[in-house]
């Protein structure tokens, strides 16, 4: 990632999926610290914590208990302090409706989680490459 010292926030309820992201980032030598929350509400609390460091990017699952990814997106994009953070959706949902809602809420990307771990690493590689080349708001 272009800004190497800011954390990546992963919002994901599935433990193995979270492990997959951690592992892929490690394999790709991404040095940003990874912080993990397992639902939208907990993620929002972390994002609004005045003590906490704002993440440089949010990797967001859509289907989660308590507060879904779309619900979190709605809140984040209404929040002046948070709406500038790029959000990449990482999901199993191929529903057109989810894609439309996500892009209407200004996501920076929408990635389907592949079943194959190797392919998943490639997806993460692309995300990392893109956000290394692209400028990010400080």
């Amino acid at each position: 990632m272009r800004i190497a010292n800011r954390p990546i926030l992963l919002v994901e309820d599935d433990q193995v999926d979270a492990m997959t992201v951690k592992r892929a980032l490690k394999e790709l030598h991404v040095t940003n610290p990874l912080v993990h929350e397992d639902n939208g509400e907990a993620a929002l609390a972390r994002l609004r914590d005045p003590e906490g460091q704002k993440p440089c990017i949010i990797l967001l699952d859509l289907n989660m208990p308590v507060m879904s990814g779309i619900e979190l997106l709605r809140v984040v994009k209404e929040d002046e302090q948070l709406k500038g953070i790029p959000v990449v959706v990482l999901t199993t949902s191929a529903e057109q409706e989810d894609k439309v809602s996500s892009f209407n809420l200004g996501v920076a990307g929408y990635m389907a989680k592949p079943v194959d771990y190797r392919q998943f690493v490639e997806v993460m590689r692309s995300i990392n490459t893109y956000w290394t080349i692209s400028e990010m708001p400080q």
């Binding site: 599935d14 193995v16 999926d17 492990m19 997959t20 592992r23 199993t92 949902s93 191929a94 057109q96 989680k113 592949p114 079943v115 194959d116 771990y117 190797r118 998943f120």
Partner: protein, 376 residues
């Protein structure tokens, strides 16, 4: 001329013999004559009915409107056969109601206009209609539920499957040196089965999406589409695909048409067992549409399998020999039928196979809930 058998028979006799309830009322709306069937239907005696305002036979809440309609009718008396008029309600002496249809006939007499009314109790028909409407609506909702069920279930099956795939990969990577050859093979089998199940779930998703997701109908040049599909499939050098006749432009969803040709051509290529494979695509115009054919010189199919191959998850070759989900032809059939066409195969073992399907000229899916057979 009156038939001798009817000579001297009175009007009253005729009316009394009728099984349909019939009333004759005067211009003032009072009953002059009511047959036995009316007594039975409304529960009044003949004496009670005589002179009773006909408005008494409709429920209280409709009485005023009925009176107005009656006055209007007497101003412009017309034959109004049964079934033409609106459904009205009758009320019996005991206060119970029933839906009815009434046919009216004006009777011109020396003493002025009389009106004859035949009354039909349509309770049973009404109940049958209501029951039918309820069944249709239940069926529709069950169908909707089934459609989204397939989608939701397969969607939720993906998450744990992905976890199994990843965990197997990590075991192989992190602990690979702790396995002997047999152990490594087991892990490989595990991974390949995860991929297979993933393919099956994708198949269900694709299959359930047909007819569930709204289609966008545009003119599709099938000539161009088939050449694109052939490029995409990249047949091996020993397989030659020719398009023998010009293909039409149809109004359809491009993705669906692509699925149809991709599955049929893909199967023809995949199962070809000859050193020189030929696949021919053809189309003949029919009065109401087109008939397409895709003929190959492959292994052929036994007649007893003709029906089965179009069923979901049915494959003829063992999955370990030819990796196939058994979704392609089921999906193709569903698409063709959604467009109001049909699909079949003609084949014999060793003789190659020809798949035929038809597309009606003006038929296209109109939305996710329609049966797909409606023409524009």
């Amino acid at each position: 001329m009156t038939h001798p058998a009817l000579e001297g028979k009175s009007f009253r006799w005729l009316l009394e013999s009728a099984t349909d309830p019939m009333i004759i009322a005067g211009g003032d709306g009072r009953i002059l004559l009511a047959n036995a069937a009316v007594e039975q239907l409304f529960g009044y005696s003949g004496d009670e009915l005589l002179g009773l305002p006909v408005d008494t036979l409709v429920p209280e809440r409709f009485r005023q409107a009925h009176q107005a309609q009656r006055t209007e009718y007497c101003g412009r008396p017309l034959q109004r056969p049964i079934g033409r008029g609106p459904t009205v309600y009758g009320v019996r002496k005991d206060g119970t109601e029933f839906p009815a249809e009434v046919s009216l006939s004006p009777l011109e007499t020396a003493d002025g206009l009389l009106v004859m009314a035949a009354i039909h109790d349509i309770s049973e028909r009404r109940q049958a209609e209501e029951r039918q409407a309820r069944l249709v609506s239940e069926l529709e909702s069950a169908n909707e539920e089934l459609k989204s069920f397939a989608y939701v279930v397969s969607h939720d099956l993906k998450a744990p499957l992905r976890a199994i795939g990843s965990l197997a990969d990590w075991i192989a990577t992190d602990y690979g040196d702790k396995f002997d050859q047999a152990g490594k093979e087991l892990l490989q089998l595990l991974t390949s089965r995860v991929r297979r199940m993933d393919g099956l779930i994708d198949g269900i998703l694709q299959y359930s999406r047909v007819g569930r997701v709204r289609e966008t109908r545009v003119p599709v040049d099938l000539e161009q589409l088939v050449h694109d599909v052939i490029d995409l499939l990249a047949p091996p050098p020993h397989v030659r695909i020719t398009v023998d006749t010009p293909l039409p432009t149809v109004t359809a969803d491009r993705t669906r048409m692509q699925q149809v040709f991709q599955n049929l051509l893909g199967n023809a290529i995949r199962y070809l067992d000859k050193p020189q494979g030929t696949i021919r695509v053809g189309c003949t115009a029919q009065p109401d549409g087109w008939r397409f054919s895709i003929a190959d010189n492959g292994p052929g199919i036994e007649p007893r399998q003709f029906e089965k191959i179009f069923q979901l998850f049915q494959t003829l070759a063992p999955r370990d020999k030819v990796e196939s989900t058994g979704v392609g032809l089921a999906l193709t059939k569903k698409v063709v039928e959604l467009y109001g066409g049909h699909i079949w195969v003609e084949s014999a073992p060793g003789k190659g196979s020809t798949f035929f399907f038809t597309l009606p000229r003006a038929c296209a899916p109109t939305g996710p809930t329609t049966k797909g057979k409606q023409c524009e």
